[in-house]
């Protein structure tokens, strides 16, 4: 994900609002990866995620007039894309399982100092992934946004259309469930 200074991003948003599609395209390039990944982790289907990202960006372009000047662009965009992805998940009713990249080095090896740290080792990661996958949809979404996608609390709240307090409590609940599942 390309990060750019906020002031520069606000300038791009302003130019896009005036109808400069080129400026909007720069915003798309900067955010397409996180938008697509967010859509994928919600919809769990490549085609659905691709469509959700595309439709989300086009809708965002049309809705630029309603964007609050000075506020961060990414949470606003993710809210639109994630909504598209949720609509597709509801209609599709299927889900591709998440898998780990092959050949990932076992970074922590045997030097695991605690049972939780053991999760960082090869087999531990597979167990952790299985536990995440076994969570119910709303818990899994909050874990996916906060940790797998490394979104901020504000971005998670926007993407999942939830108050920040609910993101906090749901994250806490989901982490507890994961701990239980891994115990």
């Amino acid at each position: 994900v390309v990060s750019r200074p906020l002031a520069e991003e606000h300038l791009l948003v302003e130019r896009a609002r005036r109808g400069e599609a080129r400026a909007f395209e720069e915003l798309v390039v900067a955010h397409q990866e996180i938008a697509f990944r967010t859509a994928y982790l919600i919809a769990r289907d490549v085609t659905d995620a691709e469509e959700a990202a595309q439709d989300g960006f086009v809708k965002a372009y049309r809705a630029l007039g309603r964007f609050r000047t000075g506020s961060p662009f990414r949470p606003w965009l993710l809210a639109i894309v994630a909504n598209e992805a949720r609509n597709r998940r509801r209609s599709a009713g299927r889900r591709t399982a998440l898998v780990l990249r092959a050949g990932v080095e076992d970074r922590f090896g045997d030097a695991a100092p605690s049972p939780e740290a053991a999760l960082l080792a090869g087999e531990g990661r597979a167990r952790l992934l299985a536990a995440v996958e076994a969570l119910r949809d709303d818990d899994r979404d909050v874990i996916a946004c906060r940790y797998l996608l490394e979104l901020s609390e504000e971005e998670t709240a926007a993407a999942l259309d939830l108050p920040r307090g609910t993101v906090k409590s749901r994250t806490h609940r989901a982490l507890e469930k994961l701990k239980e599942a891994l115990a």
Binding site: G19, A21, F24, E25, V28, V29, Q32, E33, A35, F36, R37, Y40, V46, A49, E50, A53, Q54, F57, V58, Y61, R62, L98, V99, L100, R101, A102, V104, R107, S114, E116, A117, L119, L120, G124, R125, L128, L129, V132, I143, A144, R146, Y147, L148, L149, E150, L175, L178, K179, L182
Partner: protein, 212 residues
């Protein structure tokens, strides 16, 4: 941050996720289409503003949709007012006196030519042709049809046109509004043409293509 949270972040980085597609390239045509639509809407609104200068009865109801060709606008409205048919086109004139060369149906001379309403009316048996040299952006001729009227864009040869397949209202600057029958409106070169004849669309287009 707990070990579990740290493990979840690392898990996210080690997931095999599909490659991010080039969303920017995929939506480029859609963004461009949107720009074109905005531009067309702006032009159409400008034409509508010009059309407001015409004396149109207020009873016609809400404007639902409109088509604009250079010099002519077709509006679809909720209620079509009752209008008289126009019978008098004024005094015939010498067609050679027209400031531009009049196009003739099938190259045949009309029964009569009238100069009125900013253009020329050519009367043929069963057909009435109006020729107008209009500047882009202005509206010299306005037609109003009911909400369900069969009005659509057509192509006359390579030229854009509008077919009004029903009785409708015709408004011209300075003239009284009148009721008109099936009409084909189209642009050809510098001219905006209007052919009124009680024939189906295919025949109207055939007649239009016979102009020379």
């Amino acid at each position: 941050v707990t070990e579990l949270e740290r493990a979840l972040v690392l898990l996210g980085r080690e997931l095999e996720l599909p490659a991010t597609p080039d969303v920017a390239a995929a939506i480029r045509p859609r963004l461009a289409r949107r720009r074109r639509r905005r531009w067309i809407a702006a032009v159409a609104l400008a034409a509508a503003a010009v059309a407001l200068a015409f004396a149109v009865p207020s009873s016609r109801g809400a404007l639902l949709r409109f088509f604009h060709l250079r010099g002519a606008t077709v509006e679809l409205v909720g209620t079509l007012p009752a209008l008289p048919a126009r019978v008098d086109l004024g005094r015939p004139v010498d067609p050679d006196a027209a400031p531009f060369r009049l196009l003739l149906l099938d190259g045949r001379a009309p029964d009569a030519v009238y100069a009125a309403d900013g253009g020329y009316w050519l009367r043929y048996p069963g057909a009435l042709l109006f020729e107008l040299r209009a500047a882009a952006g202005g509206t010299m001729l306005k037609k109003v049809a009911g909400a369900d009227a069969p009005v659509r864009w057509v192509t006359v040869g390579d030229d854009p046109g509008v077919w009004i397949g029903t009785r409708h209202g015709l408004y011209l600057p300075g003239g009284a509004a009148r009721s008109a029958g099936r009409t084909l409106l189209w642009q050809h070169g510098a001219l905006t043409l209007r052919l009124e004849a009680d024939v189906p669309l295919d025949d109207a287009i055939r007649l239009a293509l016979s102009l020379r």
